[in-house]
């Protein structure tokens, strides 16, 4: 089973990288860009086909390692 994990900086935490990219987009003329946030995208292959088990594992992985929940949120997508 394949999983995708998206890790993003919490809304109330400053994202200087996102702000820098937003500035660059403005410089390029894309003035409609009102906000950019940069996060991480992870693709994880799991040996299990049990959806509930996969979800439980991914939640634990995310909270213990993949995201630092002090400053980051995470979202999991399961495929198949």
């Amino acid at each position: 089973m394949k999983a995708k994990v998206y890790v993003t900086i919490k809304e109330n935490v400053l994202d200087p990288q996102g702000n820098a990219v937003q500035g660059a987009l403005h410089t390029m003329g894309f003035n409609d860009v009102s906000k950019v946030r940069i996060g991480k995208y992870l693709e994880i292959d799991l040996a299990t086909n049990d959806r509930a088990q996969a979800e439980a594992q991914l939640k634990e992985m995310s909270e213990k390692l993949l995201a630092n929940t002090v400053v980051e949120d995470y979202r999991i997508e399961l495929e198949g």
């Binding site: 400053l14 200087p16 002090v70």
Partner: protein, 230 residues
């Protein structure tokens, strides 16, 4: 008093920490590899700066699960002295031994220069040789040293006197409330972004870091009594 300097793949301030202990207080000190599973002989554990595990994923994120960290956790809970400097601070926050998290500098720049710090708490194991309000000159060298805690945690830190150092004047990284270093509630675990081990001789630009090492020796002597002083 026995010191351990932890060495992770990618640690690069381990030698500085080792030499700082030798040069300031002359106590026995060992490098301890990240795979070690017994820290029982050590009274103080220094978690040095660098880029543990390449800082992949996040600074300190992978190091928190190194075998030695289970022992660091035990040592911290037993009241032993633990100091995390720079990447070491990041590791201690990731491991949950200190509150908060370190995020990218608001300037996006790697800042590497001397800074003035205010000693906000001169009662911790690593700061008792300073006086509260002392301004000390210690270098920083980091790209991800912006300390973040939410408002509720910040209030707790203030209430418990857990803010150990603040930047005086310019805030080099955008950290919340100008925080440069914090401790746990008991005061035996301290983490800071600036590098006291790089400020132990005037020829280095400052010797203001010396008192951190003198502090921990003093703490240990107070705890163990004069009889065991070597």
């Amino acid at each position: 008093m026995n010191f351990a300097v932890l060495v992770f793949p990618g640690s690069n301030c381990d030698i500085d920490c080792f030499k700082a202990v030798e040069d300031t207080i002359g106590q026995p000190v060992d490098y301890v590899f990240h795979t070690e599973t017994d820290l029982s002989k050590y009274d103080a554990i220094l978690v040095p700066g660098g880029f543990s595990y390449g800082d992949y994923l996040r600074c300190g994120a992978i190091a928190q699960f190194a075998p030695v960290m289970a022992e660091v956790r035990k040592a911290a809970e037993a009241g032993k002295f633990v100091l995390g400097i720079c990447n070491g601070f990041q590791i201690l926050t990731e491991a949950g031994l200190l509150p908060g998290a370190l995020i990218r500098n608001d300037s996006l720049k790697f800042r590497c220069h001397q800074v003035d710090l205010v000693v906000e708490n001169a009662t911790t194991a690593f700061t008792n040789a300073y006086a509260q309000g002392d301004i000390i000159d210690i270098p920083i060298a980091h790209g991800e040293g912006s300390y973040f805690v939410d408002d509720a945690t910040l209030a707790t830190l203030k209430a418990n006197n857990q803010i150990v150092f603040r930047y005086s004047g310019d805030n080099p990284n955008g950290s919340v409330d100008h925080i440069a270093g914090v401790c746990n509630e008991a005061g035996n675990v301290v983490g800071m972004m600036p590098h006291p081990e790089r400020a132990v001789k005037d020829i280095l630009g400052s010797a203001d870091g010396v008192r951190m090492f003198e502090s921990v020796l003093k703490s240990w002597r107070e705890r163990n009594g004069a009889a065991s002083v070597r």
